[in-house]
Assembly symmetry: C2
DNA sequence: TATTGTTATACTCTATAACTATA
DNA sequence: TATAGTTATAGAGTATAACAATA
């Protein structure tokens, strides 16, 4: 593929400095920059509620339903199973999640949210959602709809394995 | 435990797991997932060419024009000035970049690409661009145009300060 | 023999402080 | 006094190996 592809992209100069002749910035660089801005904007909201990013990721996953065991939970959120241990210890000590002996396999523990955990997640998520609305404020409704429809197709989420609570 | 257990909630199953009632996934989570997929896809392309991600970031910035000094270079790519040292040492040892005494300020060094550095960057960038084309293959032309127009607006790049070569 | 939860260890990445030479 | 480049050190984050209990 050559420079002629600029026809279905953006061939214009967006004022981001001297053009190096390649037409547009790397997709990875652009996505990374947006991601970093969102992470930076989420950081204070999480800190206010005493959560780290990984803890929030765990709560978000568990909000979909109980995880059958810690290993699948770790795989689904792409976190090391070894680091998940202390993280769950902390969340459980704070009464946000519970580990229960697995029904079939005595080695494993199902992990699920407590009422307090579900409430905290809902509160933080609402704050994050409000921040995101501001983040997307510059887009008109059609653009916003297009973006929200596109993103899941570019990186589909793995179907979580849900256990009985 | 049958898969049909997931149907008991909303009845909707779009492949993204049980709905937790909040409508859509966090924007940050979606962007982070896309970014990770792109980074993972770039990794082998960079490794084949003996570059780390940060080294490629430096080359990409310098492809826009020489940096007036290392400090502004570090700030523009959001990298620690202390870690930039060894990184530039390496790139210079390999003949990809050159540090030249600053014209006005004798403390500073301009940083610019050598011909070899420019060639390597162009080669790697072409490989990455080809990968990106595959990555966006699932989108129709209108969606692709919309996405590429949106991204720079969601996280504008800082205008780089360009020095004379 | 393989897997789940766990601990311990080693390694990488990142952040901070401090030094030098110039300004 | 402040800044550009550099070095050294401490800390956080991450990966790997190994172990006990169970399958």
């Amino acid at each position: 593929m050559s420079e002629a592809d600029r026809e279905d992209g953006t061939g214009r100069d967006d004022g981001a400095g001297r053009d190096d002749g390649t037409g547009r910035e790397d997709l990875g660089a652009m996505f990374a920059r947006v991601t970093r801005r969102l992470v930076d904007a989420e950081a204070p909201l999480l800190a206010e509620n005493g959560l780290t990013m990984w803890e929030y990721v765990v709560l978000s996953r568990l909000a979909l339903g109980a995880a059958p065991n810690q290993l699948t939970l770790a795989r689904e959120i792409r976190h090391d199973k070894t680091r998940l241990i202390k993280l769950l210890d902390d969340l459980q000590r704070r009464g946000l999640v519970v580990r229960r002996p697995g029904a079939a396999d005595r080695r494993s523990y199902t992990v699920s949210l407590t009422d307090a955990g579900r409430a905290l997640h809902a509160r933080v998520r609402a704050a994050i959602r409000a921040m995101e609305d501001g983040f997307l404020a510059g887009l008109d409704p059609a653009e916003r709809r297009s973006l929200l429809a596109l993103l899941p197709r570019l990186a589909p989420r793995e179907t979580p394995e849900i256990a009985e609570d």
